[in-house]
């Protein structure tokens, strides 16, 4: 009888000791990286203004097809945006400036001195349309929980490393079967549809220079049309978070493999590299149109 009790006692003791060990081994902190990133995303999106420098790049089998880089200044309070972009596809490149001020959107191509001005007539309607859902704290909390549950154990793949002075870095790389099958299927379909979208390859659609005053036809990026075995191969995220929980630097990469109609294999990598600074200390630039060449364009054309 004593032997039995000793066995039960020992089993319980060792078992509970292991449970306590797991708690000390920071199992509760699972997804510490995930939580840090989530907080940072919330803080960063809540900032009322910021300046960002971004580089978007699309490579096919290591060769760059499309590169967009530019600066963006945005202020939610002033409802203003200003920025510039340089779009390069191989040899061809195009400069673009854009502003959003006083309810008008202004585009200017680097190769002309005409400002194309679009006035939004239904600004109030659109603002109302945006007010549902995401702004409501209850809906937001519900969504957050849903996302948490969907992310599930993927949280364990998010690594957090501390830097100096409260700065943190978050890294996540998902490869092959680590990527949830549903995400892979939906993502692959989206990528495939995007690559096969009509206006991407039909020159007639791109030659319409009237809308933003830029000849985009020169910029055909020659993206491959993947039709078979489209698969998301790798997803990676690197984010640097400062002591105030703002994401100051972020790199997101997505690698997609697949075959085109001719059966040639492609590996497309899409990457976005975004630097953020002057958080809550940014005023978007404005342009004074007095005395400048302008061209009125219809706002509804922009929404197409």
């Amino acid at each position: 009888m004593k032997k039995k009790l000793a066995m039960v006692g020992a089993g319980l003791t060792i078992g509970s000791a292991l449970l306590v060990t797991s708690a000390f081994a920071d199992i509760g902190g699972a997804g510490g990286g995930y939580e840090a990133y989530k907080t940072a995303v919330k803080t960063t999106t809540a900032a009322s203004n910021a300046t960002q420098h971004y580089v978007l790049s699309v490579k096919d089998n290591g060769q760059e097809l499309l590169n967009v880089n530019g600066t963006l200044k945005e202020s939610k309070a002033a409802r203003g945006v200003s920025g510039n972009a340089e779009i390069a596809t191989g040899a061809a490149s195009e400069q673009l400036e854009f502003y959003h001020q006083d309810g008008t959107t202004i585009f200017k191509s680097g190769s002309s001195d005409t400002y194309n001005v679009a006035t939004e007539t239904d600004e109030s309607n659109r603002a109302e349309g945006h007010d549902w859902g995401p702004e409501d704290p209850a809906v937001q909390q519900g969504l957050e929980k849903l996302v948490d549950a969907l992310v599930g154990n993927l949280k364990n793949n998010v690594n957090l490393s501390g830097g100096t002075g409260g700065a943190q870095a978050v890294d996540m790389t998902l490869k092959g079967s680590q990527i949830p099958a549903t995400f892979n299927v939906i993502g692959s379909l989206v990528v495939k549809e995007a690559l096969n979208a009509e206006n991407l390859h039909q020159d007639s659609g791109m030659k319409d220079t009237g809308v933003v005053g830029i000849d985009l036809s020169r910029l055909d990026a020659k993206l491959p049309r993947l039709t078979q075995d489209v698969n998301i191969d790798e997803v990676s995220l690197h984010a640097e978070i400062d002591a105030n929980h703002f994401i100051v630097h972020q790199i997101v990469e997505l690698a997609v493999t697949g075959k085109d109609e001719a059966g040639a294999a492609h590996r497309l990598t899409v990457s976005a590299d975004i630097d953020t600074w002057d958080v809550n200390a940014t005023t978007p630039d404005t342009v004074d149109l007095a005395g400048k060449k302008t061209n009125k364009i219809e706002a509804d054309k922009l929404q197409d």
Partner: protein, 250 residues
């Protein structure tokens, strides 16, 4: 030790004497092939790989550990414990010159062996199915990694075995125990939606911890923490279960 081995063999013999067990083994063998048409449809119809052939076996394992294998474990555990208590056949086991600690251990060992056998069967079947996919050329690529994932997935399933046997001890009929096992499991999974923060301490959260063993870089600290949590839960369920079994009037 010999006694324990023989009692385990005895339990397994009883298990495989049931037609139901053989049928369920057949189902586990066929299920990996049932996923093939869906994947082929994705590949031929929509042109997306969806599940590449080197990832097929792991995808099957994800589905299996989520509900198919837990369900089979619950059924076996309820038959083995509640069923025998209910129809009093457990008396014929207890009347043997084997003490109750060995009988309870043998029942769990038999459950572990059965579960491991199921995993092996699913592994072989899903790898065979992967070779039937159009891009079978790379099916052999992830074989070693997949084998590791299958082996790793045994641990949370073993913990589930101890938990199912623990629940089944409180019932005198197999269907009651099965129903309660399923409800408890579903509730534990469902609570994760409501309390994601607390669910890190629940063993059912880690049914798919095999995914952490994929992808080359192993998060050692995390694996250790989950390993101790699962082992700890298993030990607590096993010892308390044994204690209840030892005191039980049948």
């Amino acid at each position: 030790m010999e006694l324990l081995k023989r009692t385990t063999v005895n339990e397994l013999a009883k298990l495989y004497a049931r037609k139901k067990t053989i049928w369920l083994l057949a189902v586990a063998l066929i299920l990996p092939f049932a996923g093939l048409p869906a994947v082929r449809q994705l590949q031929d119809g929509l042109g997306v790989a969806g599940v590449a052939s080197d990832q097929y076996a792991v995808t099957i394992l994800n589905v299996m550990t989520l509900f198919v294998l837990p369900l089979l474990i619950f059924m076996t555990a309820s038959d083995m414990v509640s069923g025998e208590i209910g129809d009093k056949t457990i008396r014929s086991v207890l009347s043997r010159p084997v003490n109750r600690s060995k009988i309870y251990a043998a029942k769990l060992f038999a459950l572990f062996v059965h579960t491991a056998g199921l995993l092996l069967l699913v592994f072989v079947a899903s790898e065979a199915a992967a070779f039937m996919l159009p891009d079978a050329g790379k099916a052999a690529g992830g074989l070693a990694e997949t084998a590791v994932a299958y082996a790793a997935s045994a641990l949370p399933l073993f913990v589930l075995c101890t938990a199912a046997a623990w629940v089944a001890l409180g019932f005198k009929n197999a269907s009651g125990a099965l129903t309660v096992c399923i409800l408890l499991y579903a509730a534990a999974k469902g609570l994760a939606l409501v309390f994601p923060d607390y669910m890190v301490f629940s063993p059912v959260t880690y049914m798919n911890w095999h995914q952490l063993w994929l992808g080359g870089s192993l998060p050692a600290g995390r694996l250790f923490a989950i390993f101790s949590l699962l082992l700890g839960c298993g030990m607590v369920f096993y010892t308390t279960g044994y204690y209840v079994f030892d005191k039980k009037e049948v």
